[in-house]
């Protein structure tokens, strides 16, 4: 404590600079946390926080009683697993691949092209996919011409989760490479030179120099990603729900939307959201501890 007061006195100006940032977090991230109390209330926006009645854990009980809740959690976890298993490593692979390109111009051009889909909204991305993979899309046309019957990848409930993951990869793989590129750029080039002198081929150099070099960044991002394990996207899934049905496409976020916003039951929505937050926090802490135990620096 004394050290802190001492430091405060000595570096007044520097600490003063912290203030706006702290104020921002306080105002926009910590104060709204009070809204968590909605999860324990029969909340009515008209009556407000002070006028609504407390109902303890009823909302959570209702949540677990909901016939759809189990399948919602299952869907969320499956999609999340697919995203971590496939969408997470995809930008790493792409970054390594692009990194091995020799021509700087080609590299920059490819980078620009793969960044682009990130800036499209989901509505547009899905419309584009519909044109290609939908029942009247290019793929369906091709199948028809080859006499293979009809195909509609966009409306297949069984493969829907794979489709979602593929869309996420297509949209964000390029954007995701940015951070890995930065990490790769920070690896000293003499390491590669000496490895090459020692006779290491390109694959060996990637395996023994590039990958270990960017490992801390990968671990960091993975930990952050695990904190989001129950957020698998909202718009993207909501837009495609009519085609495949809620059984295949109800995830926690859409569940909250239907119960809370459309059903007017804000308490249940807040309860589900709170649960999501708690699990996310636990995941981050657990993943961080594991990473530290495995010898990496971890997040905190």
């Amino acid at each position: 404590m004394r050290r802190l007061t001492h430091a405060l006195r000595r570096h007044k100006a520097i600490y003063l600079l912290l203030l706006p940032g702290m104020l921002y977090f306080l105002l926009f991230h910590y104060l709204p946390l009070a809204g968590v109390s909605i999860a324990f209330m029969d909340y009515s926006p008209f009556l407000g926080l002070s006028g609504s009645s407390w109902i303890g854990l009823d909302n959570f009980a209702k949540l677990f009683d909901d016939p759809e809740f189990a399948s919602t959690v299952r869907n969320t976890l499956v999609i999340s697993f697919l995203q971590i298993a496939f969408a997470f490593p995809a930008p790493i692979l792409l970054a390594l691949l692009l990194n091995s390109l020799l021509s700087g111009r080609v590299k920059r051009m490819v980078q620009t092209v793969v960044y682009l889909p990130h800036f499209l909204s989901w509505v547009i991305v899905i419309a584009v996919w519909q044109q290609v993979l939908g029942g009247a899309g290019a793929l369906a046309d091709l199948f028809q011409q080859l006499g293979l019957g009809s195909v509609n990848v966009m409306a297949n409930a069984e493969t829907f989760k794979i489709l979602l993951t593929a869309q996420v990869i297509w949209k964000d793989v390029g954007w995701g490479t940015i951070i890995f590129f930065a990490a790769i750029a920070s690896i000293p080039t003499q390491l590669y030179e000496s490895a090459a002198v020692d006779g290491a081929g390109p694959l060996r150099r990637t395996w023994h120099i590039t990958l270990p070099g960017i490992l801390p960044v990968i671990v960091l991002l993975l930990i952050l990603k695990l904190g989001d394990v129950l957020s698998v996207g909202f718009e993207q899934i909501l837009l495609q729900q009519p085609s495949v049905g809620a059984e295949a496409a109800q995830v926690l976020d859409t569940f909250v939307y239907f119960r809370g916003v459309l059903g007017g039951d804000w308490g249940i929505g807040a309860a589900a959201g709170l649960l999501k937050g708690v699990i996310g926090t636990l995941m981050i802490v657990a993943a961080n501890r594991m990473a530290r135990r495995a010898g990496s620096e971890g997040l905190f």
Binding site: F46, G48, P67, G137, M154, P242, S243, L262, G263, G264
Partner: protein, 543 residues
Amino acid sequence: MSRRAALGLGFGVVAGTALAGCGSGGTRSSGTTKAAAPPPAYVAPPVYPGAIVPEVPGVPTAYPSMPKKLTRTVTQTPGRGGVVRHFHLTWGPPATPLADNRWWQGLNERLGIDFKVTEVSAGNYEAKFATMLAGGDLPEVVQLTFSAGCLKAIKQGAFADLSETLSGDKVLEYPNVANVRTEQWQACTINGGLWGVPIDVPVELLEFRYRKDWADKLGFAKPPADAEETAELLVAMTKGKPEGSKETWGLTAFPGMALELAYGMFGVPNLWTYEGGKLTHAIETPQFEAAIAWLAKLWKNGGMHPDALALGSQTDRYRAFVVQGQVGMAVDSAANFHRPTSQFGKVVAELDGAFAAFVPPGHDGSAKAVFRKSAGVYGINAISAEAAKDKDRLAEILRLFNWRRGPVGSEEWYYQGWGADGDYFTRGADGEPVPVEGTNLDADKGAIGYGLTPQSWIFPTAKECVETNSQMVRQSVASPVEGLQSDTQDARGAQLDQLFATYINQIVVGSRPLTDIEKYRQAWRGQGGDQIRREFQEQLKGR
């Protein structure tokens, strides 16, 4: 978008999509508790020479041309000069800002207030409404839908109960408001209170159209006579290449048009049937099963667009197919087909009679199709309870409503539709408004004028429109739970609609067997259906 959402577009802009999406939700219900005060008295709106007055109640009065002489129904400026805030529904871009908006400026002048408006897009309504309530300071006038959130707010006293203020002859103080039909007032009565002035829509908003030229080419000289022939025609429209190399489809969107058509032909009840003290939901009937079986077969035979499920919620794309002449059958609001300046009206004019109106046949050719009618209310123009505490303020707002409800043929009505003479339209010698080059009234109006103007059908084909609509209304039934209320329905409606998508959408496209209808029914009963039935039945017995 639900049928309700589509119904809301009767005035001006028009929707056309998943009109019948809800397997469970649907038209509005209101309170059972009998209000102590009598409902507001009804005074029929004035009729001008040339009017086509329908015999069937709920079909709007129509005019083949603009009434020659406009009458003024409000002599004194209704407002007292202050700000009046409004929370309005919209389906389009917001209005042009006041400074560059002659129509809005003129409206302020005529109403004698500073008209402030928050335009809320219909898709975003629930969230915006809750935010507004949470903010605590309600606008004086709020357009309510019948969603769970709105009903909760009504019950908790956010809005003013007008049942006393407007009861019986007291409504005559606001003569234009007295043009609202009694059944419409009933639809705005919830928990014994009257919560505002209805947003007026025709009791049967829709009209069916089909490509007669294609049908002729494909060997169907007459409109289809039963469900089977309808399916054959739809398949032929898809596979028979009536436009040569251009791709065409019989139907393009599900649920939307497809469900509306099948429900009509097979006579699926309007939400519920009530017999012997017991309610049966539409989805529990054999008619429903037959309709879904017909749709599944139609899908299998290729009578629908392969992306129909996705198109069900992609209004713009679905509508574009109609405009591009790639759709064999379509359903939309009658006015949108008949108004020569509207999106589909232009298509109808261009095809010169080939895009013909028809009333779908009964499924076996002998019985007639059965349609579903509503009370003719899309939502409620409610007044905040806070504002209504001040009697003078309440009277002022009601005077504003009275002005805005100016009947067809009144100066107030004309201003809201076409603006001051010369600003956007000039009335020609025959009384017809001629647009002024370079002006766009729709853009200026935004949603400011939405919600109170009475339904008006004014187009050259008014007679045909009234005839077709009257026939459909004659063949339509009201829901037995119209005017009743179920808390479970309000809270679980969205969830039950989702079940419909999970099961029925998938059955129609063949991903689930038809026998899964039983699973759907069970899930529906378990997730609130039975509870809703109990709540409604109790009220029906109490009647």
